[in-house]
């Protein structure tokens, strides 16, 4: 068991003939993901990495039957129409890795996804890995690397940092504890799926016994995760780490969402909310794995 993606999840890649799209599609296929096909306008009828290419998502769905998820490797200027196309074609999960996406484009994508009942990840989301079942997105990067790090087990991981999603997993699995599913939720200021949306999924998943949250300054994502716990939407052990505790306000730090402004998004507020909800907030990243070991 896992959440969101497993060995049965069918995937298409939009922008599959591009530099990024083709490399990431190859990784997903090599990892064992059921990647059925790709879409690039004007390149229909070709095949790449052994899967067919269609001109439109609609055409792909007509030929292949229902597809669960699309990963969209399309640069920011053409991104919005591509995301709209996937949602309009009825896909129920869309992953958007692009960063620096114009905010109002992101708001429109999120609004359409909400209307159509589609779970949108990102923008700025590297995707997810369910060890030995599926990699949807480019979390893991290469099969050798992913196999070394993503070992199956009972801990869910969710993070606001792409690099740290893999690093948290690495720090856990090297101590012999495995992962149910690891998810990068995205780095942009407004994202389609947040910690608060993912926690109930981990709650339902009988294979997940504990969850690790890697948070950062900025937004209210961690405070809202704490709210979900308080309201009973998540009752398993949660280990949390917040990066950026010593960073000043009014300045963003790398990720577009990592900025304390108008008094929102301080590390203190996040630590306080999570602790009050009963989460195990650790002060240094090396304590994530050790704290987790004591809880399982």
């Amino acid at each position: 068991m896992a959440i969101l993606a497993d060995e049965n999840t069918t995937v298409l890649v939009q922008g599959i003939t591009g530099r990024e799209g083709s490399a990431r599609a190859k990784y997903m296929i090599d990892y064992g993901t059921r990647l059925l096909c790709g879409v690039t306008p004007g390149r229909g009828g070709n095949s790449i990495n052994g899967v067919p290419v269609y001109n439109t998502v609609q055409e792909a769905v007509e030929e292949q039957g229902p597809i669960d998820a699309s990963v969209i490797f399309v640069p920011a200027p053409q991104l919005k129409p591509a995301v709209f196309e996937a949602i309009e074609a009825g896909l129920k999960m869309v992953i958007v890795p692009a960063e620096r996406v114009p905010l109002h484009d992101a708001l429109e994508m999120i609004a359409l996804a909400r209307r159509k009942g589609c779970r949108l990840f990102g923008p700025g989301c590297m995707g997810m890995v369910t060890p030995q079942k599926a990699a949807v997105g480019w979390l893991g990067a290469s099969v050798d690397f992913a196999n070394e790090i993503f070992i199956p087990g009972n801990v869910g991981v969710m993070s606001r940092s792409g690099g740290q999603t893999g690093t948290v997993v690495w720090s856990i699995t090297r101590t012999g504890i495995g992962i149910s599913t690891a998810i990068h939720i995205g780095t942009e200021p407004v994202i389609g799926t947040n910690f608060a949306d993912v926690l109930p999924l981990f709650e339902e998943d009988e294979n997940t016994r504990a969850v690790v949250l890697f948070g950062e300054i900025g937004t209210v994502a961690e405070e809202e995760a704490a709210e979900v716990i308080k309201e009973g939407g998540f009752s398993k052990p949660l280990v949390a780490y917040i990066a950026g505790r010593t960073m000043p306000s009014g300045m963003r730090f790398s990720h577009a969402s990592a900025i304390i402004e108008r008094g929102r998004g301080t590390a203190e507020s996040k630590v306080k909310a999570l602790k009050a909800a009963g989460a195990h907030v650790v002060d240094t990243p090396q304590e994530i794995a050790t704290t987790l070991a004591g809880l399982l």
Binding site: S161, S254, Q286
Partner: protein, 416 residues
């Protein structure tokens, strides 16, 4: 921060048909005199700076005559207010205030909202967060579905919840609806009129406005002439401007650089900081500060940047001549092939360290092609007259150890 100055924001409001106070912007006392003469009544002379709390800091002066306006402008222009240099003043008719209100649209990232929210209050003049905390009954709000847009009827029914005379409801609704069109038209993160003033003559005018453009959308609006589209709430430094050009000229990967301290001298213990990956850089910076180190800057590279981009970021860090150590905090098991970073570091450090005998350098780098990268670094940096320590994946989350090493080496360096 791509935050528009008051006069720039008011120009956008005016273009959208929103009435704004009579006035214009001046760069010299003489221009201020001319504008005040044209207005022909008492004016306010307002420093155009991107910081809040301007009035309390002495950035707004009132003048009854054009001569007084000239004097007020002379007093403000060239002055530093809360760290911002006053290059322009807005000379504007002084409003006779009957009441102060607030209207604003702010994007709300909450998972329950994820949309712009229109807020209106019959109180104004202080931050909306403060108004909402003090007097929640004076605030109404409405989440906006960006696909449907916002209709003037929706605005009207929102503001009609207060006892506002009917003739005013219409003009107020049009003004607030205009604000939404500015918000959408210019890809704003937030657009606020505060205070929105009702004058004793029954006119509604924005006395001040604050519009923040989305950093990722600045390219869509060249007419705004935003030369530094970064979310920093102070004036950028020269090095930050160069860093922005490094980023803008090469779209591959991210190279980020901001200064956290300025004006320090040698031996004061400031560390040149370069982290890898957004989250890793932040947690690494936290560890250094937790161990009592002072960071001169925060630099970060990620997303598989080219070696040339990484090289330029390292060079920027070393453009702070009085740093007492350099740390590459790669607190991540990176997906990207790390040898691009290794090559860039070798080239930049060879150039920089030759003239800095004994200078401490601590490098932590791990992830894809780690073995090769460590070899490139060890070979490339051998023989340099600096104190260089290089660490791999066993130390990725042992950032406290790395911080201790930086601390010890920089203290030794300062003693010599």
């Amino acid at each position: 921060m791509p935050k528009l100055l008051e006069y720039q924001g008011k120009r956008l409001l005016k273009e959208m048909g929103i009435p704004v106070p009579l006035g214009d912007v001046a760069s010299t006392p003489e221009e201020a005199l001319r504008i005040a003469t044209e207005i022909g009544k008492p004016v306010a002379v307002k420093a155009q700076i991107g910081v809040t709390g301007r009035f309390k800091a002495g950035g707004i002066k009132f003048a009854d005559t054009p001569d007084e306006a000239k004097k007020a402008a002379a007093g403000l222009l060239g002055k530093d207010i809360k760290g911002a240099r006053v290059n322009k003043v807005l000379v504007e008719e002084r409003l006779d205030v009957e009441r102060e209100m607030y209207a604003g649209i702010i994007v709300n990232d909450s998972y329950k909202v994820r949309s712009p929210v229109l807020m209106f209050s019959t109180r104004g003049g202080v931050d909306i967060e403060e108004i909402a905390a003090e007097d929640p009954d004076s605030v109404v709000s409405l989440s906006i579905d960006v696909l449907d847009g916002l209709s003037i009827e929706e605005v009207r029914s929102l503001v009609s919840r207060f006892n506002i005379p009917l003739p005013l409801i219409s003009s107020l609704s049009e003004i607030v609806h205009g604000l939404y069109r500015v918000f959408r038209g210019y890809s704003a993160r937030s657009a606020e009129m505060n205070p929105l003033v009702l004058t004793i003559n029954g006119k509604i005018l924005p006395a001040d406005c604050r519009i923040v453009i989305d950093e990722a959308s600045v390219f869509k609006h060249p007419d705004l002439e935003i030369d530094f589209p970064r979310d920093i709430s102070r004036e950028p430094t020269e090095l930050e401007r160069i860093a922005w050009r490094v980023e803008a000229e090469d779209y591959r990967g991210t190279g980020y650089f901001v200064q956290l301290a300025e004006g320090f001298g040698p031996g004061e213990g400031y560390v040149g900081f370069h982290g890898l990956g957004g989250g890793g850089a932040m947690l690494g910076a936290d560890a250094l500060m937790r161990h009592g180190l002072k960071l001169a800057n925060y630099a970060e590279s990620s997303g598989n940047p080219t070696a040339s981009k990484v090289y330029r970021v390292v060079k920027l860090v070393f453009s702070q001549p009085d740093i007492d150590a350099f740390v590459l905090m790669g607190a991540m098991v990176a997906n990207q092939e790390q040898w691009h970073h290794a090559h860039a570091l070798v080239r930049a450090l060879k150039e920089e360290l030759i003239s800095r005998p004994g200078f401490p350098v601590v490098i932590l780098i791990a992830g894809n092609k780690e073995k090769e990268s460590l070899e490139i670094l060890r070979n490339g940096l051998s023989g340099l007259p600096a104190r260089i320590e290089i660490y791999g994946r066993d130390y990725v989350y042992n950032v406290d150890f790395i911080a201790e090493r930086v601390k010890e080496l920089s203290e030794e360096y300062r003693r010599t």
